[in-house]
């Protein structure tokens, strides 16, 4: 009883000084306002692009991939939200304890009678409430989809509840990582990679022909299934269970375990925490066994995998897999862009250290030099993460009958675009590191800003075309759709709408061939090479000058 009363005290937000302080400092200044503005801006772009695309496809009679405008708008909105949450939440919360350490406030915090659970809970609730505010601000655009039809209030609520649960899980994950990490950069990176992996894991779920209990374990499969009313129930022991119920329970259990286990390295756990952690850990493993092994894997093995490859003439499960992998790798590209320049800085330091007596690495111990080297490898590790699923997907496509119905050259072009974006991200990062060698904040702003412009710029003519055509339709092939293929942002919308796009059936290309993604990929690779050569010459000049 005493333990329950203590636990209630620890979890009561009113008694949590960290939550109060986090909210006070986060709500002050223009940062939160700018974050909401950015979030809303991205949502608006996604909505506008989708609207234009959906309108174009409807108008030109190629509406096989869309059912209803409202539904399509809502799906792209919620998918965009899921991906943005995935990137934003770890960045907001991974500094929980590492920032305290870096600002030399951790010791004073640890000296207070705050328990580990109280500290982790306070640190988790702050960013969670901020992220929830972002979700709440997405309600007006979601409501506009309601008015267009094709989506129900229940779907909107279920999607938002799912995203809120994932936000809580990502926050707890980032806080736990932060308690175990030495630096904020490392904690943010680990949080981002884990969150993106969660996103990509949705691709595996897509192998299943219908909803499985594990559908609730990744944000994209959650919203994907919720948005298809016929896929809400998963088969389990001969009964139909709403797939999100065991999934939500598992998400909550995992969050609780992370909060209990995370801060044990910093604060000695109380006896009732240890007992509760064991209980929650056991329950999590049991639930995971039920959801993954019993409820899902059984279904997958009995029919799922075979069914995915079987039906010729339909895109089926593999297409969904392709779409999800492609989407996830696009998000990986963005995450890589965020960190590519720190890797670039790492490379720069190594080059300086090798080439100069008075290099940036001067005075660093071998361990630190190793850390710099590891940092330099991060973008390439991400590139590996991006390329491997692509190769697997292509292999699977070539082996299966899907080859006859899908657009393999289009997919190759697609991965060329992604690789080009990644290389571009790296060289932009290197350029920024050369320009401001000592100021990491400036490097990041420069690198990410340039990249965002590059990724989004083709969306601008695309939007112009879309709105122009809405008023004056003329051509047989919608140039707006054509233009979207050359834009990573446009591609993202296509995936969100229909999985892997079949460019031929959409009438995109020249003489029946899929050239657009190839051209776009080539353009990105060429731009990356040009920028790389420029940076290398800049670096050589700099080295000679010193």
């Amino acid at each position: 009883m005493n333990a329950i009363r203590r636990l209630w005290f620890e979890l009561n937000p009113i008694h949590n000084p960290l939550l109060i302080r986090e909210l006070r400092s986060r709500m002050r200044g223009p940062r939160l306002f700018l974050l909401i503005l950015l979030f809303q801006g991205c949502l608006m772009v996604v909505l506008a692009v989708t609207w234009s695309l959906v309108y174009g496809l409807h108008y030109y009679g190629r509406s096989s991939i869309v059912s209803s405008r409202g539904h399509q708008l809502f799906v792209s909105l919620i998918v965009a939200e899921a991906m943005m949450i995935c990137v934003i939440v770890p960045a907001l919360s991974a500094g929980a304890f590492t920032l305290e350490r870096e600002k030399q406030t951790l010791e004073m915090l640890l000296m207070t009678p705050l328990t580990g659970l109280q500290a982790a809970w306070g640190k988790c609730l702050g960013p969670f409430l901020v992220s929830s505010l972002l979700l709440v601000t997405s309600l007006p655009p979601a409501a506009s989809c309601l008015f267009l039809g094709g989506v129900s209030l229940g779907e909107v609520c279920l999607c938002l509840v799912g995203l809120a649960l994932f936000t809580l899980l990502y926050t707890a994950m980032a806080v736990a990582i932060s308690a175990q990490s030495r630096s904020t950069a490392a904690a943010v990176f680990s949080g981002e990679v884990l969150a993106v992996m969660f996103l990509v894991a949705g691709g595996l779920e897509a192998l299943a022909p219908g909803p499985i209990l594990a559908s609730a374990l990744t944000p994209l499969s959650w919203v994907g299934r919720v948005c298809s009313p016929e896929e809400l129930y998963a088969g389990f022991l001969g009964t139909a269970v709403p797939f999100m119920i065991p999934g939500a329970a598992l998400l909550c259990l995992t969050t609780a375990f992370l909060l209990l286990h995370g801060p044990t390295r910093l604060v000695a756990p109380r006896p009732h925490h240890v007992a509760l952690k064991r209980l929650v850990g056991l329950a999590t493993v049991a639930m995971l066994a039920v959801v993954l092994v019993w409820g899902s894997l059984r279904d997958l093995l009995s029919s799922g995998v075979g069914a995915s490859f079987a039906p010729p003439g339909s895109i089926g499960g593999l297409s969904n897999l392709g779409g999800l992998v492609a989407m996830a790798s696009m998000v990986t590209c963005l995450a890589a862009a965020l960190y590519a320049n720190s890797g670039a800085t790492g490379h720069l330091q190594v080059i300086y250290a090798l080439g100069l007596r008075r290099g940036l690495l001067e005075g660093l111990r071998p361990r630190s030099a190793f850390a710099v080297g590891a940092e330099a490898c991060l973008p390439w590790a991400l590139a590996g993460w991006l390329v491997v699923p692509g190769v697997v997907l292509l292999g699977a496509a070539l082996m299966g009958e899907w080859l006859h119905t899908s657009d393999v050259p289009g997919l190759v072009g697609l991965f060329a675009v992604e690789l080009g974006v990644l290389l571009l991200a790296y060289f932009i990062g290197l350029g920024a590191a050369l320009r401001h060698p000592w100021d990491l904040a400036k490097q990041r702003i420069l690198a990410v800003g340039t990249l965002v412009v590059l990724i989004a710029y083709p969306a601008v003519p695309f939007l112009a075309w879309g709105f122009w055509n809405a008023a004056r339709p003329s051509a047989a092939v919608d140039p707006a759709v054509w233009a979207s293929v050359a834009s990573p942002a446009g591609l993202l919308v296509l995936f969100a709408c229909a999985g892997v796009p079949d460019f031929r059936s959409m009438g995109i290309g020249i003489g029946g061939h899929t050239l657009a993604p190839w051209m776009a990929g080539l353009a990105f690779l060429l731009a990356a090479m040009a920028l790389g050569l420029r940076n290398v010459s800049h670096l050589c000049r700099r080295l000679r000058g010193r």
């Binding site: 008694h15 302080r21 350490r101 004073m108």
Partner: protein, 339 residues
Amino acid sequence: MARLSEEPDVVLQNQLERFAHQRGDGETPMAMVECQGLRKVYRDLVAVNDLSLSIGEGEIFGFIGPNGAGKTTTIKMLVTLLRPDAGTALVDGKCVIREQEEVRKVIGYMPDFFGVYDDIKVWEYLDFFATAYRIERHRRPQIIDDVLALTDLTIKKEAFVEELSRGMKQRLCLAKTLVHDPKVLFLDEPASGLDPRARVEIRELLKELRNLGKTIFISSHILSELADFVTQVGIIEQGRLVVSGSVDDITAQLQPFKRVTVRVAGDTAPVVEVLQQVPGVRNIESEPNEVRFEFEGEDGGFAGILPALVSRGCQVTGFGEQEASLEEIFMRVTRGAVA
């Protein structure tokens, strides 16, 4: 940050029992801070080695040592932030290893380097720590006003913390250390990096705290900071406590003679002549209008020197003992090496 664990330890139990036995519980007044055989090793570096000391209630203990001597490590062990590799320490009778929570309630700790939170006002900063120390909501405003008044920061109550000057931040940190009214204060280099005025302000504040009856454990490598208000001194070098005790005791122990300065109007030769005849007087140095000498002997003999000078017609304008400064003691007992 070292992992802080609380697993029972048989060796520690034995040490604690031996400790209690040596103290003779109930017979002598309990020391507020007491440690025995403290040791901390970082890889191949022995930061603190076999450190034992005892500080009574209401004492101000000056912990002096060169940079890198092990002062901060010792303090971190005493405030439960580092687990000692050997030895044991009690604060207010509670073990720093096994009763961390209890120890943290009675101590206030001000680290040598600390940061402040962004976008937080001064009163909010103090309110944060007051809530963390579980002070009831209705008592917090009064306590915050009190500590602000004590640290002379009332005027900055609504200011943002990051806008304060270095000296003000130092005082704010001290205010934060006081919100839960701790019995013992551990202050690690509280005046480092401050300008002379801010340093004087901190010193005045510490004197105020002494008057409030707090036991203060203060470390510094600047001796003049502590000289005029500490009651006990411990000098640490290379992780070992070289000397410990009250300033007077240590002075008597290390310097068993008195250093005396006599100021005269006119010629100093008669004074030197008289002094040469007094037993126990040695090392007489004469300068215009001033004579310095050392005296070793009974107080009665010392008391006779001034009347003897006056009776011989020496025009004495000043006669006084030159007290040994902490600085001198420090230079005498340390060898300039660091741990």
